[in-house]
């Protein structure tokens, strides 16, 4: 199976090394403690791990890098599984986070005796020649489960933020929304909950269900997904189930628009948990009677304007503009006021960073049109300024075809505005 003689030699050498490692004499207890201390040192040095990262155990084994097994040590810590080997001047290093591991499998065959297969989203890794493969595997499983229970699936790093600002690719969007919003954990800790309340809520009619029924065909009506019974029924079930779960909110217009967009990217059950995250954690009290949460945030927005855009503050107050714009901006998270493929980008940031994104984008919009707004004599004029701006926002990176919905029909011809005013959403946030 080896292509060159060198590879064969390498293999033999590794084999001998591993046999030597396996015949190490059994250790006394204090030797073991000493051993853990030195290996912790090594672990930190090899993998550049911080002091807080606690090493749990380490095992001798072979890691299959391509065709060649590299003899070395597997280090299992609270958050990571690592491997290090240094033989004949060649270093092999592997760092995996438990949270990234999607599958652990044990195997034992001629080719891979006492082996463990570790899969992540990107690759499969094979470890073999594990002396205590059962013990090792059990510990790996335990650590991986602990990582899942902590709900740690992703780190908020500067890089993550930059990637989110650039826009999440369509095929990852739903998954990222689930992770960022915490909906993923809610769903995992409440198995069958959604199916149950769909069953319970079915057949009960109420004010909420009447209102939902009327709005089903008024949620992204231009999108093919909501021009057939499949999409409409899913939307009906999610909204009805939510009204059942939370009678304090029931149903409020704007929830239909948000949910219809969610359904384009995630499954029905996931959409339900995302909606729950939006209504109960991200935008608390936004959708209940009198939309009081949104009105409070409108007040907060006013304060932010006087702090960051003082020159505009009095003007906007005279025009009475805020009360007219902010509800649609806030309650639909810009989905009903901006071209669709731009608004989902804002939604990316919103799930990542929460309600502050709405304030940031709102302030940015006002700032970008400050001169024009200052020149306005009445509310209608100011509305026209902002509408025109909203229509001109576009997203040249988006692969999502722009869905014509009521917010941007033929107000501004698309090509004209695209050429004239290049405004990308990412600049707003």
């Amino acid at each position: 199976a080896f292509e060159t003689e060198d590879e064969a030699t390498e293999f033999i050498k590794c084999k001998i090394e591993s046999l030597l490692a396996n015949v190490e004499p059994p250790k006394e207890e204090d030797v073991e403690v000493e051993d853990l201390r030195t290996s912790t040192k090594k672990f930190r040095k090899y993998f550049n791990m911080p002091k807080e990262e606690k090493l749990v155990n380490h095992y001798s084994c072979s890691y299959w890098k391509g065709n060649i097994p590299r003899q070395g040590w597997m280090y299992l810590s609270v958050n990571h599984m690592c491997f290090y080997s240094f033989l004949m001047g060649r270093e092999a290093k592997l760092i995996l986070r438990w949270a990234d591991i999607t599958k652990l499998e044990r195997g034992n065959n001629m080719l891979l005796p006492d082996s463990v297969k570790v899969s992540t989203r990107d690759a499969d890794h094979y470890f073999s020649m594990l002396l205590h493969s059962k013990e090792t595997f059990d510990l790996m499983e335990q650590l991986a489960n602990m990582a899942m229970k902590q709900g740690m699936c992703m780190y908020r790093t500067h890089n993550t933020q930059e990637l989110v600002l650039k826009g999440i690719p369509d095929n990852l969007r739903g998954e990222m929304w689930m992770v960022f919003s915490g909906a993923l954990n809610e769903m995992a800790t409440h198995p069958n909950y959604y199916a149950d309340i769909v069953k319970q809520s079915a057949g009960h009619s109420s004010i909420a269900t009447d209102e939902i029924e009327r709005d089903l065909h008024r949620s992204l009506p231009e999108h093919p997904a909501f021009q057939n019974d499949l999409g409409i029924s899913a939307l009906r079930r999610v909204l009805t189930a939510y009204a059942w779960r939370n009678p304090n909110i029931g149903y409020c217009q704007a929830m239909n628009i948000v949910t219809s967009v969610l359904l384009l990217y995630v499954s029905e059950e996931e959409a339900f948990w995302l909606l729950t995250a939006v209504c109960e954690r991200l935008l608390p009290d936004y959708y209940n009677t009198k939309v009081v949460g949104a009105l409070i945030d409108q007040g907060v927005f006013e304060d932010l304007i006087s702090e960051y855009l003082p020159s505009l503050h009095d003007k906007l107050e005279t025009l009475g503009l805020l009360s007219m714009i902010s509800l649609a901006w806030f309650l639909t998270i810009f989905l009903s006021v901006m071209p669709f493929n731009c608004a989902v980008n804002i939604l990316d940031c919103f799930f990542y960073d929460g309600a502050r994104v709405i304030f940031q984008v709102s302030l940015a919009i006002l700032d970008m049109r400050r001169q024009e707004l200052l020149a306005c004599r009445e509310d209608g004029e100011a509305m026209a300024v902002l509408c025109e701006f909203m229509d001109s926002v576009h997203n040249s990176n988006s692969s999502t075809p722009n869905i014509i919905h009521t917010a941007n029909s033929n107000g501004v011809s698309q090509d004209k505005s695209a050429a004239a005013k290049e405004v990308s959403v990412t600049n707003c946030s």
Binding site: P221, Q253, M324, L331, T332, V337, E378, A384, T406, N410
Partner: protein, 214 residues
């Protein structure tokens, strides 16, 4: 197009009514000349329309009762209010009194109130609940200042419309504009001639653009 941001409106028209009676469709039929399925309106939306030498601002509002606290803002200095109800849903007719009567206090004192039944295409004359007479009566009650001679000549501010079939929509808006911003016979000829021939073109190039923002 760039002009639209700099235009001051000569007349502010607002439209009120329960959710899903077809307020946005009514406006879009008039301004765009088309019927299209609409998203539910959250907050308010806004449209500009030239009428002769004048600019008309049409404010669309959300019908959901949860937003009704905000309608006062939209009504501010409105010269005309369209009170829309679904001809097939008597509850929406009752709402006009119950919900919107008091809201209109913020409008101009001489604000013209036009009662408009929608979805006349769905009406079955045998089973209809709100009669034309009731609609007309409400319209007259809401506008005590309209003198009889005017009503004799121009009709009561009551219309039964269909945005789908384009019935009575233009007539209704023209009634409002003619009452609030009367054009002389000469002006009417000049501008009418102009708008009716290039109306469609005008929407996409200049003026008449529908603007919906919030």
């Amino acid at each position: 197009m760039s002009q639209s941001g700099k235009r001051k409106a000569d007349l502010k028209v607002i439209i009120l009514g329960d959710y899903a009676v077809g307020k946005t469709s009514l406006i879009c039929r008039y301004i765009d000349g088309t019927f299209r399925k609409q998203d539910s309106t959250v907050g308010a939306a806004f449209f500009f329309k030239p009428w002769g030498p004048y600019n008309i601002a049409v404010w669309d509002t959300a019908g959901d009762e949860r937003y009704s606290g905000l309608s006062h803002f939209y009504c501010r200095s409105a010269g005309a209010a369209i009170l829309a109800f679904d001809l097939n849903c008597p509850k929406t007719f009752e709402s006009l009194w119950a919900r919107f009567g008091s809201i209109l206090d913020a409008a101009n004192e001489d604000c013209l109130k036009v009662v408009v039944g929608t979805k006349s295409d769905e009406v079955d004359e045998k089973t209809r609940d709100v009669s034309s007479e009731e609609g007309r009566r409400l319209a007259l009650e809401l506008n005590p200042d309209l003198d009889e001679a005017y009503i004799e000549k121009a009709g009561a501010p009551y219309f039964e419309t269909s945005a789908l079939d384009n019935k009575n929509v233009t007539e209704m808006f023209e009634y409002i504009f003619q009452r609030c911003l009367p054009l002389s016979a000469d002006q009417h000829r000049r501008y009418k001639g102009k708008t009716s021939t290039i109306d469609l073109l005008e929407q996409s190039s200049d003026g008449g653009g529908r603007k919906k923002c919030c």
